[in-house]
Amino acid sequence: MAYTLTVNGTSRTVDVDPSTPLLWVLRDQMSLVGTKFGCGVGMCGACTVHVNGQAVKSCSMPVSAVGEQPITTIEALSENPIGKRLQEAWLDVDVAQCGYCQAGQLMAATALLSKVPQPSDADIDTHMSGNLCRCATYIRIRKAIKQAAGVAEKKEG
């Protein structure tokens, strides 16, 4: 079945089974491999992309459900000013260990700051808890989000 998707501002047509998750369309059909496979069941967030500006787990969205909604992947995140600021903060804080989850983390964090420009710790917990990091870089993810948002870090201890 043919589907025409708008990905990172470009319209592309793919011929796939309607059940094919958006994740695998991006990775296998469009060679956009920055979006990662982690669990396939919506539990890890490695596959997070933006669909219509919302953070969506692309492993759990069949291509047939995308319709005309624009899709943004990590490869085009720096065109989003919030995304760009987060990427800079990620580098500054040196968030990544293995780095595998970080595309999903950045996509989720961008969606968070787009909705809540000055997130509290509770906001970060709520919005980021769907994104697993096996290396457990959570402390730095939190720090980088706050840095990008210009929110002061809570003094600990």
């Binding site: 796939v16 089974d17 059940s19 094919t20 998750p21 695998w24 990775r27 296998d28 059909q29 060679s31 956009l32 491999v33 920055g34 979006t35 990662k36 496979f37 982690g38 669990c39 396939g40 069941v41 539990m43 890890c44 490695a46 992947t73 990590i74 490869e75 995140l77 720096s78 990427q87 990620w90 580098l91 040196d94 990544a96 260990q97 293995c98 780095g99 595998y100 989850c101 970080q102 595309a103 950045l106 970060i124 917990d125 709520t126 980021m128 808890s129 994104n131 697993l132 990091c133 096996r134 290396c135 457990a136 870089t137 959570y138 402390i139 730095r140 993810i141 939190r142 600990e156 201890g157």
Partner: protein
């Protein structure tokens, strides 16, 4: 480990022209007599471009532990260039040139620290010699910095780039005696340095095995026998072959591996489905119906093991591991005797990037791309399983791996990909990607274990006797791989009457190293039980442990088990441990803070992988849950932290990893099958559960050692001890959510 013989002991340098100008300096460092003699034949190379930029090879792969950054940092500092002038490249698999390239066991820093310094220093020395000859001045009058040689007296300067070809003509210095920097002059080592791949990570560039792309590539999935060692009886292969996109269905009979773990050098029985895309292969797989013959491992289950372990624990151990003094007689005369049984579960690795590998087979030759901690082992395994000479197998480790934790030390995904690619043939690249369920159900697990402890205190509250009956896995008095208890495990040598003994149960599933192997379980049982002993002694745990550690300075046999052929790193040193214990007590305010009711601290320390680590954890007990408020860590990993920003991150990651394991992770078996499959039933810690972790290092005059692992083992007991302090309830089995009353 293979040691090269005399002919290459001499260190030498090879110079060769590089396309596009510049010069490549290849250092083959001396072998058996190399300065530290820790490596057979370590080489590394520095490429100097005419524009005075430097390509430095990272000899080992990055699995998130940061060595692709830290190893080149060491070379660059001794070379005396600026980090901004350096570009890092990952070295190809070439153990002749680079020495052992595998990563694991927190060994990369300890075994390369000295060698990498000497590589950098030798290169600098040759450049200085070239300048001295050119200007006809004594070498001693020359200084270097930022890739420039300066002769101050005559006000002459030359860049390394300008000197490169002359430098290559110099005789290489003796690596054993090449002059190294005074550590106080380090400019790069010890400075927080960002991961070299970070700019690529944040924009989603392809770096991982799962990202490999090649023209004409096909995708594969592999349905393995649900029971390790099981065989396929029949399957609906014809139906699968007709599914959309399916190009080939490969039935693998299975070869029982001979190695450690048992999966190594073998391949599991199953059905591989090769299709145009992974989703098509996976969709076809859902229609697959296989009848399996389980074999004896189909009988294994947690229920059976738990029953047997309890029965065994009541009897004498089947065999003895260590015996000092006379524990039994001491218990009889002891003022107090404490007894307890502890257990911990099997664990999976669950690396974030699922297992995968890409392979092609053409004219009897393999080419393989694999995210691995040990590319050389992958090559050997493929060679053994396929009967193809190693020289006809080209293995590319990928730029990064999405986590390792010991799982990627095993080559099974590479062997499977190679097998499937050979069946497909024609040089067609095939990418095999495991699902998360494949990953959780076909791992080389951290083994479960059961410990029955007994301890005796004298009238002054001093620990005078301790025994451990360890119920583990193996046969005929031989532990299964990863299932052993060493005779050196703490508190051996610190208690006068002590015995360790073991009894073994059968196990058919392969086990493998998981971050801080051995220690990640033993720390929980020993350091929790010692906390019980401390409580019984009536002393504050800090005081109890300080007294225990006052007994002896260095435990002679307590060194971490040496990796193959490697000399043992410095062993357990009571003085170093007291140092970190005091530091963490000070930082956490141990015994100094008044806390609200229900809030309390727990402490634990452990020596592993040459690191001395001590943790304090603060928890608050609610009605039916325990909240972790904060973790303090003090570590002693020697005289130099190579990259502080990464060392801190490794500690924080290890601590949170440990909390995640303690709170909810376990792998259980029924009918020989793993019962978990994804992150719903094998949960990782999440953002909302991650407490702050404060990290401190005690810098001591010991050789630098690794930090990927040793911060994990103290976590579980520190948490259990904190829960006890807050609630009065002792948790003796992992994960904690199993224990009644703890929905942590």
């Amino acid at each position: 480990m293979h040691l090269r013989n005399d002919q290459s002991r001499r260190s030498f340098l090879k110079a060769s022209a590089v396309t596009g100008g510049g010069l490549m300096l290849t250092f083959n460092l001396g072998t058996a007599k190399a300065a530290t003699a820790t490596e057979a034949n370590i080489g590394a190379f520095v490429r100097i471009a005419p524009d005075n930029t430097f390509v430095i090879m990272a000899k080992s792969v990055d699995i998130g532990q940061g060595v692709k950054t830290s190893l080149p940092m060491i070379i660059a500092d001794e070379l005396d260039v600026d980090w901004s002038q350096v570009k890092v490249e990952l070295a190809p698999l070439d153990t002749e040139k680079f020495g052992a390239q595998n990563v694991g066991g927190s060994t990369t820093i300890p075994r390369n620290w000295d060698n990498m310094r000497r590589v950098g220093a030798a290169a600098r020395q040759m450049i200085v010699s070239a300048a001295a000859k050119m200007w006809k001045v004594p070498e001693g009058e020359l200084t270097t910095g930022s890739g420039v040689v300066t002769h101050a007296a005559s006000n002459r300067k030359a860049t390394y780039g300008e000197l490169a070809s002359k430098a290559a003509a110099q005789t290489a210095p003796d690596l054993k005696t090449v002059k190294l920097k005074d550590p106080k002059d380090f400019k790069i080592i010890g400075k927080p340095t960002r991961d070299v791949d970070a700019p690529k990570i944040v924009v989603g560039q392809p770096l991982y095995g799962i990202d490999v792309q090649a023209p004409g590539m096909l995708a594969a999935t592999f349905e393995r026998s649900p029971v390790f060692g099981g065989k396929l009886v029949k399957a609906n292969i014809d139906e699968i072959r007709a599914m959309p996109g399916v190009r080939k269905v490969v039935v693998v009979e299975g070869i029982t591996g001979k190695g450690d773990p048992a999966r190594q050098n073998g391949i599991e029985a199953g059905v591989a489905i090769v299709a145009d895309t992974w989703w098509q292969a996976q969709t076809a797989r859902r229609k697959l119906r296989v009848e399996w013959k389980d074999g004896p491992t189909g009988l294994q289950s947690n229920a059976n093991w738990e029953k047997t372990a309890l029965e065994f624990a009541k009897k004498e151990p089947q065999f003895n591991i260590r015996k000092d003094g006379d524990p039994d007689a001491t218990f009889k005369g002891a003022a107090k005797v404490i007894e307890a049984t502890y257990s911990y579960p099997f664990l999976a690795h669950a690396t974030m990037e699922p297992m995968n590998s890409t392979a092609s087979f053409n004219n009897g030759k393999f080419e393989v791309w694999t995210p691995t901690q040990n590319a050389a082992a992958a090559r050997t395994s493929i060679s053994k399983v396929m009967g193809i000479d190693e020289k006809d197998i080209l293995v590319h480790p990928t730029q990064r791996s999405g986590g390792g934790f010991g799982r990627r030390a095993q080559p099974d995904p590479a062997v499977e990909a190679a097998w499937i690619a050979r069946e497909v043939g024609n040089g067609t690249p095939v990418k095999l990607v495991w699902s998360r369920e494949d990953d959780i159900r076909h791992d080389n697990y951290r083994p479960a274990g059961y410990h029955h402890f007994k301890a005796g205190l004298d009238a002054q509250g001093k620990l005078i006797a301790l025994t451990d009956h360890f119920v583990s896995f193996g046969e005929n008095g031989k532990f299964a791989p990863m299932c052993q208890l060493g005779d050196n495990i703490f508190p051996a040598e610190f208690v006068p009457n002590l015995s360790y003994g073991a009894s073994l149960m059968q196990l058919g599933t392969p086990m493998g190293p998981l971050r801080a192997p051995g220690s990640n379980a033993l720390s929980f049982v020993f350091m929790s039980f010692l906390d019980e002993v401390a409580q019984a002694s009536g002393r504050d745990p800090l005081q109890f442990h300080m007294d225990l550690l006052a007994e002896k300075r260095v435990a002679a046999k307590a060194a971490a088990p040496a990796a193959n052929g490697q000399p043992r790193p410095p062993g357990f040193d009571a003085e170093r441990m007291r140092g970190v214990l005091q530091l963490v007590a000070d930082k956490s305010g141990w015994g100094k803070r008044t806390m609200p009711k229900g809030t309390a601290l727990g402490m634990a320390y452990y020596f592993s992988h040459a690191g001395h680590l001590a943790h304090v954890i603060e928890v608050t007990a609610g009605k039916d849950e325990v909240k972790v408020n904060k973790v303090w860590v003090a570590g002693d990993i020697g005289s130099q932290i190579v990259n502080p920003i990464m060392a801190e991150s490794q500690v924080q990651g290890a601590v949170l990893d440990g909390i995640g394991q303690a709170l909810g992770q376990q792998v259980t078996f029924a009918n020989g099958r793993v019962q978990q499959g994804n992150f719903d039933d094998f949960p990782l810690l999440r953002m909302n559960e991650a407490p702050p972790v404060e990290v401190h290092f005690n810098i001591t005059g010991n050789p630098p050692s690794g930090i990927g692992e040793p911060a994990l083992p103290p976590v579980h007991p520190a948490l259990a001890n904190a829960i006890f302090a807050a609630t009065g309830k002792r948790v003796r089995s992992l994960p904690f959510n199993k224990a009644a009353g703890f929905a942590v």
